[in-house]
């Protein structure tokens, strides 16, 4: 199997939109810190009112509309109770909340499956919430995240749709290919291209 590290890429990175801290990204960090330190309900209200309807959109996209509100409740409960575990050098607030939502979704589907096992495998064991990793420092991380937000908008529409469906709607590649009425190989090609573009943009920021 080819190592992705060895994939040469000639896509030109976009120029970074300035070096200053993004006030929108920083705002969520400050709010979450207030929740962590002081259990500040006003700060949490702002987080809730922004993220809860988006987590709900995530659940609906994932095809679990019936349990969307349940998922929202579980995710926002985790955010409130675990705010002190959030480390801003590891992930932006939206990434952190995404990983919580993803894991709660996996938990929910596994509960629905009512599977019996000798040992209960905790979702957290396999999908760890962003862990200690010193490769990227805090400021670079935030900068990369902000850059990513901009880069997503730069993807050609057909690539964006492929990424969104596979990544965000939790569909299998076969399902997405059938939905878009394209061969599986074409879908994988689009995914690879989009990832290459996004990664090159990010790696340019990490150097």
């Amino acid at each position: 199997m080819a190592s992705p590290a060895a994939t040469p890429s000639k896509v030109r990175p976009m120029t970074a939109p300035g070096g200053q801290k993004d006030p929108r990204t920083q705002k969520w960090i400050d709010l979450l810190h207030r929740v962590a330190r002081e259990k500040d309900r006003t700060a949490f209200r702002e987080i809730y009112e922004y993220f809860a309807p988006r987590v709900k959109a995530y659940a609906i996209n994932q095809g679990i509309s019936q349990q969307a509100d349940e998922l929202v409740q579980e995710v926002m409960t985790s955010v409130w109770r675990s705010a002190d575990k959030y480390t801003d050098s590891l992930a932006s607030v939206s990434t952190w909340i995404f990983t919580i939502a993803r894991n709660q979704r996996i938990d929910l589907l596994r509960r629905n499956g009512r599977m019996k096992a000798e040992i209960k495998v905790e979702t957290e064991e396999l999908w760890q919430i962003p862990t200690e990793d010193n490769t990227i420092s805090s400021i670079q991380e935030l900068s990369a995240q902000r850059h990513l937000q901009a880069s997503i908008g730069e993807l050609p529409e057909e690539q964006m749709i492929a990424v969104r469906k596979v990544y965000y709607e939790g569909k299998t590649h076969q399902e997405v290919a059938a939905e878009l009425d394209i061969p599986l190989g074409t879908l994988k090609g689009r995914l690879r291209l989009s990832m290459q573009k996004l990664r090159v943009m990010l790696e340019a920021k990490e150097l």
Partner: protein, 213 residues
Amino acid sequence: MSGYHPDEITLMDYSAGTLPMPQSLAVAVHLFMCQHCRSQVKQFNNLGGALLSQAEPRELEVQGFDDFMADMDKAPVSEAAKTHARHVNPLQAFLPQPLDRIDWHKQTRDIHEYDLTKVLEAKGFRIALQKIRAGARVPEHSHKGQELTVILQGGFSDELGVYHAGDFISRDPSHSHTPTALQNEDCICLTVLDAPIYFVGRFYRLLNPFLRW
């Protein structure tokens, strides 16, 4: 850092949470040993975060913020609070003993196995640890489905390459291979199969009906 990695689509599916649990276990064990892929997954997670904040918000049906807080204040603090960051080998959670004291099941003189299929909820998959004696060769076999291997200790070689601890190797039905453990130490691997393997050699083919599945 290991030299063989999951391909980027596998990492993407893992990060999205859509890769089935058994394959995700193989990816998670590789991630434990591979900073390069951890960094990749981190970027995919960032993609998830970006898509989340760009999502078109959907109105909640019942709960306003005040109701939510009132409910939560009443709810017991238990499961929901588990979001603590850790960096441990995910296998540790499933093994009754450390790797060097596993109660291996002997298959041949050279190959021992420890079956994790029943331990995990892995319907339709076969998950096992395998220990191949240093220098020993596994009979040539092929796969009906995909075989993922993550090397935990030692290494092996086959017709396509040489692999060491941390490497993540994916084989599909088009491959038939004869892995041979490296000489210096026993090789221990995690293997995840989504369909049976079958031996292709004249003699070993007789074993096929007896393979546990």
